[in-house]
Subunit: 225 residues, 2 copies
């Protein structure tokens, strides 16, 4: 008697190299066009189109029409978390797409995980918030304390706006390089956006890497030592 969820459908979706490349590209958080994804996956446009249709049918990605462009992005945070957790397993087993290159340390230091900050800096951020009593963890759920809300407001985060949304403000996400959790959810997204808006950090072109400026690094380290 069969019981439990069917993992083979999702496995099959992720199991094709072209699709895996597309999903990995989308882990950068940006919505990409079919042409860009074709380039990332190394296949032609018709092939890409077929793959995207399957990924969408499987609920892993969603598309947004905008004029003659169609932008594709991961369907939601949960899809991002799923991919990050599989990446974690793959990385620990040495299933790397290329041998670790010069970019690797930068990725491990700070990178985008769908829409929030990951890597050493991402883990450090959550650690500090928990240690200071700004965020409480309970399993993989997380919550912001009143003290944490004030701290976020001081950083320029509009907490009431985040709480008004239906999506979870605070979640944790398993980091593939650090093997520990970092902060996801709408707050995680807002914080990364804030770091970039204030010029503390910049996104590398065509990469998940996030580069902190000299000043940004000092400020970040002062806030989250």
């Amino acid at each position: 008697m069969k019981e439990g969820p069917d993992i083979s459908q999702i496995g099959a979706l992720i199991g094709d190299p072209a699709r895996a490349n597309m999903l990995t590209a989308l882990m950068g958080g940006e919505a990409l066009t079919a042409s860009e994804l074709a380039g990332a996956a190394g296949v032609t446009l018709p092939t890409t189109s077929a793959h995207l249709a399957k990924l969408e049918a499987g609920g892993l990605i969603a598309q947004r029409k905008q004029g003659r462009h169609r932008y594709f992005a991961l369907a939601d945070d949960e899809a991002g978390r799923l991919l990050e957790s599989i990446m974690g397993y793959a990385a620990n087993r040495g299933h790397l797409r290329t041998r670790p290159g010069p970019k690797d340390p930068a990725l491990r230091k700070a990178r985008v995980c769908y829409n929030h900050l990951a890597g050493d800096y991402g883990v450090r951020l959550l650690d500090r918030l928990v240690a200071d009593g700004d965020v409480t963890l309970d399993g993989d759920e997380a919550a912001v304390t009143p003290a944490g809300e004030m701290r976020m407001a001081a950083l320029g985060i509009d907490m009431p706006a985040l709480k008004a949304q239906r999506r979870p403000v605070c979640r944790t996400c398993l980091d593939w390089s650090e093997r520990r959790s970092h902060l996801a959810g709408s707050l995680g997204e807002a914080l990364l956006a804030r770091f970039i808006a204030t010029g503390w950090a910049k996104r590398e072109k065509n990469s998940r890497a996030v580069r902190f400026t000299g000043e940004g690094e000092r400020e970040f380290m002062a806030l989250f030592p």
Copy 2:
């Protein structure tokens, strides 16, 4: 430029329905023979043999020869956690192998997750330990406090023996039915073994379900309300 781990190999391994069925069967925690797995997957022995070779090459399972039998089991806790997290995603998307049947409530209440307790009871257990200050969480890492060690000793768990092993004593594992974490690691394994040894709970035949006896349920609820 490609960067990051390669998730397609793992996806492909899980993506075949026969292999997914075998892995799901192995999530029961017991080591199974090739014949048993053939039955679970619904394929013949030669096919099973080929699949098992691939799963072993991919590092998801390990085999142990014992006389003329070969027992297959999940390679380690990490493989179990990976599968449970994918199951969580699949369950939330309605990717079920069969429509939820009469067994489903029992599975959600208490079941085996590789080698530890999952479901409502598993989540409840960890919640209680954290609330009582017996276990501390830090991301997905977890640790037992001195108070927790005493409590475990009172339950008949040989903590020094667990700590002497190389494998982590305390880990968290995302529960697919509860969407929250439960206790894994060697302590999680030891606790489930203890519940069964004391007759509080029994494993259902050919199922991941764990059935608590009347007395076991009372004791468990008294300890972890």
